[in-house]
């Protein structure tokens, strides 16, 4: 008989539920995004997020069941995200899942959100098997793992400061583009030249597979301030900066009105620096651990430039790269159900005392 897994995900700003059949077939996947709610703030507002989760979780679960043509009575097990994430948000989905599991007496397992991201790729690619090198890059995470087997993950590297997606968001906000930063910067970058402005690709000392994006963010801020000084003809700290050749000669009315060509080049140069760092470190880690497969997941995995560059470079090393489709790269509940399914199948059942953990490590569950 078919096994129906109900996945619930509320670790950050999306309230998501999904029904998965036999761990592979997505019967439904519903995501109530809070993007519109948070856009005016240029990022997620945690307190608003948890309040919206409370309002949305039951309607979203009900919608997922309806679209799957199922009722709660048909569900065989529940997989809910237990961490890492915003604690107030995590608690909503996990508590809801525990309450339902208790009420109708079915098993529940807590899923690590990061393992879920890796399972988004396993869910879609039947030929993808363990072991593989997994890069998770999103607004809150930039981590590199050696995924040895289901439930066995070894941390190879991580960001020392800002997450890759956080760098996209903060630079986009600084440039006056809005939120979320990833797609907005990628869109501008398509019209720009990635080689006009060469931003630094800082690789931290020590940890061989670590990342650092804070210095890059500062370099963009410095560049824009320098370019603005030139535009205004003012003497500023910009004299040591690279020439902002495409800058308009007209004075800028506001701090953030940049010439569209210059803006496109800044976006292209910034994106290229992030992509270069992610590609270089991920490939080095995969080669060192003799992986023939790489998985890239998380919101930043939607980035087209990252996909094309990494796939091409990896092919030179005879490494195959797997990406989830964009709708499964960003937070969703189908990936949580997929990660929980093998454990539910083995008869695992979390105690009702299971708690959410904002800093939950991958590999310790």
């Amino acid at each position: 008989m078919a096994h129906l897994t109900l996945g619930i995900e509320t670790s950050c700003d999306e309230t998501a539920a999904a029904v998965l059949m036999d761990g592979r077939q997505i019967r439904s996947s519903v995501i109530a995004s809070q993007e519109a709610l948070h856009a005016p703030f240029g990022g997620i507002v945690p307190e608003l997020a948890s309040r919206r989760h409370v309002e949305a979780v039951w309607p979203v679960v009900r919608e997922a069941l309806t679209r799957a043509g199922a009722t709660l009575a048909d569900v065989d097990g529940i997989a809910a995200t237990a961490g890492p994430g915003l604690i107030g948000s995590l608690l909503v989905g996990l508590s809801f899942g525990k309450a339902v599991a208790y009420a109708i007496d079915i098993p529940l397992v807590g899923v690590n959100h990061l393992e879920g991201h890796l399972y988004a790729a396993l869910l879609e690619h039947e030929d993808l098997i363990f072991p593989f090198t997994g890069l998770i890059a999103s607004g809150g995470h930039t981590q590199l793992y050696l995924a040895e087997a289901q439930g066995q993950y070894r941390l190879l590297g991580r960001t020392r400061d800002d997450a890759a997606g956080e760098a996209f968001d903060k630079v986009a906000k600084f440039l006056g583009l809005g939120y979320p930063g990833g797609p907005l910067i990628e869109d501008r970058a398509r019209k720009g030249d990635p080689d006009t402005i060469r931003f630094p690709r800082p690789l931290p000392q020590g940890g061989a597979y670590d990342f650092s994006f804070s210095g890059l963010k500062t370099a963009v801020v410095n560049y824009v301030r320098g370019a603005r000084c030139e535009v205004r003809g003012a003497v500023g700290p910009g004299q040591a900066l690279p020439k902002a050749g495409a800058a308009s000669s007209a004075p800028t009315p506001t701090a953030f009105t940049l010439d569209p060509v210059l803006l496109a080049d800044i976006c292209a140069g910034f994106q290229e620096a992030v992509v270069d760092a992610l590609v270089r470190v991920t490939l080095a880690a995969a080669k060192a651990s003799a992986s023939s497969r790489i998985v890239v997941a998380g919101g930043v995995a939607c980035n087209g430039r990252l996909r094309s560059k990494l796939t091409q470079r990896a092919a030179d090393e005879r490494i195959e790269v797997y990406y989830p489709t964009p709708s499964l790269c960003t937070d969703n509940a189908a990936m949580i159900a997929a990660a929980g399914y093998p454990r539910l199948l083995r008869g695992e059942r979390a105690p009702l005392s299971l708690n959410a953990d904002a800093d939950l490590d991958l590999g310790l569950m």
Binding site: G43, V45, P46, L86, T159, D161, S214, K217, P237, A358
Partner: protein, 172 residues
Amino acid sequence: MIDLPPEGPTAVCISASPEETRALGEVMGRHVGAGDLIALIGELGSGKTVFVAGLAAGLGVDPTAHVSSPTFTIMHRYLGRLPLYHIDLYRIETPEALATLGLEEYLEGDGVAAIEWAEHGVRMLPKERLTVRLRQTGLETRTVELVPAGDRYRTLLRRMTSDLAAATRLLA
């Protein structure tokens, strides 16, 4: 009329590099005590997280526990000779949002609270605090202004003045 704690005198340091900004934080980390509140104010890229990384080192936090941006999770906790609560209000833009975070338990508690983007919570935070204002003056250079509010922080600043001067060039 608000009853404001006595402010100043202010110390102004010139940092020539991220390393010097970090060194200033490290000096502070050696002198702070339980319950101290450090409010960091400065634009994107001015060195707030770098300063807190130094603060953590001065508090004896294990160097392998890299101090990373807490923008996403709002707070990171590090253990040194005292706990360090590294808080980031970047995404907190209303007093209502701040009020529901429950930060009180980390302030004036067993550890040291370092709050980035403190201006987002300036009216909600305790009036007595040591404000660290970072200003970008060049590609690498920053002025780091230390503004004590209240006797507790005036004493703290006096105690670390000579160490700060040794770490960088103290102007005033």
